[in-house]
């Protein structure tokens, strides 16, 4: 295969829609809908951020994608498969989910058992399980923790175990449901590092729920939900330049952006930076 056809294949892969929702609604009762008529598509390889005020239906939406909750109406297609009773198994293999509380998603009694839980469910051979166990624990820097119990791990380490458990199952789509909200600053930076590495690999489509402005800034696309409906589909830059949308989503602009805007108001000519580091480098080259 020559380079041009490889590039074409890669491009085709990147543009392929892996998640498609058409008129999806959900509610515990018809009188109180939680999500209404959601229509969207997400192409392969994109890092998408889901934002919105508490209770707007973000977590519900991602739980609908792999049938953790049953949709009330509409159509969901994941990796070319329409979500139905017969395809739930395939779709759950295609989508990995990392939840908010690392304590409540630890299934095994040790790190090793927790990672093996998903692999054993895939009915893999012993050699394949061993290879994935060691490969993903090394990659996430937790290979020395295999015999540890959840009580012996920090919050950041538990979240790494949760991510390793999911990545070891090799899903094409990984959902992070406020996965950084219970972590300290250091662990949060580590998590973002892992996400950047995943994007660089290009084989993952990432869907992330967060309220953190710096995390939103790192993504490719922002989907904003409010009152159970999709109210905006924008880039992070467009979101942070739209004061009304920021207010509706209960968000604040990133610290570096706010500082740059204040400096601009005081007559200092400065471009809006992508990060605090970039702002510092601009001010003190």
């Amino acid at each position: 295969m020559n380079e041009t056809s490889k590039d074409q294949d890669k491009e085709a892969g990147e543009n392929q829609t892996v998640i498609s929702l058409e008129g999806v609604s959900f509610g515990y009762s018809p009188e109180h809908p939680i999500l209404q008529n959601i229509t969207l598509t997400i192409p392969q390889g994109q890092w998408v951020c889901l934002v919105g005020p508490n209770g707007c239906g973000k977590s519900t939406l991602v739980k609908l994608l792999n049938a953790l909750l049953p949709k009330s109406a509409g159509e969901i297609v994941v990796c070319g498969q329409k979500l139905e009773e017969e395809t739930i198994g395939y779709i759950r293999q295609s989508i990995g989910m990392v939840f908010q509380n690392p304590d409540n998603q630890f299934i095994g009694a040790t790190v090793e058992e927790d990672i093996l839980f998903g692999l054993e469910g895939l009915c893999l051979s012993h050699a394949e399980m061993e290879s994935r166990l060691h490969s993903y624990t090394q990659r996430l820097g937790i290979d020395h923790l295999l015999a540890k119990h959840p009580g012996e791990l920090s919050g950041g380490q538990k979240q790494r175990v949760a991510i390793a458990s999911i990545l070891a199952m090799e899903p094409g789509i990984v959902i992070f449901d406020e996965a950084s909200s219970m972590l300290d600053e250091g662990s949060r930076d580590e998590l973002m590092g892992i996400l950047h590495d995943m994007r660089a690999e290009g084989k993952y489509t990432i869907l992330m729920i967060t309220h953190d402005a710096d995390e939103i800034l790192a993504t490719d696309r922002v989907l904003a939900l409010q009152g159970g409906g999709l109210v905006a589909d924008v880039t992070p830059a467009e979101l942070f330049l739209n004061a009304e949308l920021l207010e509706r989503c209960h968000l604040q602009e990133p610290y570096a952006w706010g500082l740059a805007h204040e400096l601009q108001k005081r007559g200092i000519q400065i471009d809006v930076p992508a990060s605090e580091k970039e702002l510092i480098d601009t001010l003190w080259p």
Partner: protein
């Protein structure tokens, strides 16, 4: 090491007991219960103590960990001893105060009950100390597999047991947090009279149960998100292998049973 962490957790030392098949250890423990019930004399008790301590030492786990396992039940043991002491009226009287008389038989039966209970708890802790929960599950599944024909689902039972065991420390943590939250609002359980304590404990139960349900729901999401489906086929990373050492281990308990019933 935190007492709470000892609950249902293994302590790796690489001893010969650690290397045994979980099915052999579970069978051994079941036979041990029979051995305890067959021990009815001081000689049998001494033999039982010698055997139990020797096996515990051979695991290379410090004996204090085994004692820690029995510590939470110390008041129950004391209660059983006192009840036996006061209720059994066999043998000669060795102490008499007014209408209260303590007999030799009561002292003997009370001591036997406490010794039996102490060894039962400490020795069965050996099972969880030397076996990882995963292997314990596999062992239980193996032992229960013949009951499949009766409609029993061993994998469901072992899954329930492993999750229950896994959640004990988490629920204890939660209880501590709720107790501290209530204490910070002036309702310190330790400083209340007994009647109030009872009422407070009931008010503790509601948030603990609610929280346990929430955690259970999250765990179900996590399991389902990793493709778990009850009764779906699964492969096993660790396979159990029965060897000569396992047979010897089980025979040891049979021999002990015969020995204590003879002395």
């Amino acid at each position: 090491m935190n007492d709470k962490l000892l609950l249902g957790r293994s302590i790796e030392t690489g001893s010969w007991v650690h290397k045994l098949d979980a099915r052999a250890k579970i069978t051994g423990m079941l036979l041990y219960v029979a051995v305890i019930l067959l021990s009815r004399s001081w000689m049998a008790m001494a033999l039982l103590a010698l055997f139990s301590i020797a096996v515990m030492i051979s695991t290379r786990i410090p004996l204090k960990y085994f004692l820690k396992a029995a510590k939470p039940l110390r008041y129950l043991m004391l209660f059983i001893f006192i009840v036996q002491l006061l209720s059994v009226k066999e043998g000669s009287v060795w102490l008499s105060i007014g209408s209260l008389s303590l007999h030799d038989g009561g002292l003997r039966l009370g001591s036997f009950a406490v010794i039996r209970m102490l060894f039962l708890i400490t020795f069965t802790a050996l099972l969880t100390f030397t076996t990882t929960p995963g292997k314990l599950n596999q062992g239980l599944e193996g032992i229960l597999s013949p009951f499949k024909k009766l409609g029993l689902s061993p994998d469901r039972i072992t899954l329930m047991l492993s999750i229950a065991l896994r959640f004990i420390p988490t629920i204890l943590d939660e209880a501590q947090i709720i107790m501290k939250a209530q204490a910070s609002r002036g309702a310190d359980l330790n400083e209340l009279p007994l009647k109030e304590k009872g009422r407070m404990l009931v008010s503790l139960l509601v948030p603990i149960i609610t929280s346990a349900f929430r955690r259970a729901q999250d765990l179900v999401y996590s399991m389902e998100a990793r493709g778990f489906r009850m009764d779906a086929p699964r492969s096993q990373y660790h396979r159990l292998r029965w060897g000569a050492a396992d047979t010897v281990f089980v025979i040891m308990f049979v021999v002990m049973g015969v020995a204590v019933s003879l002395v």
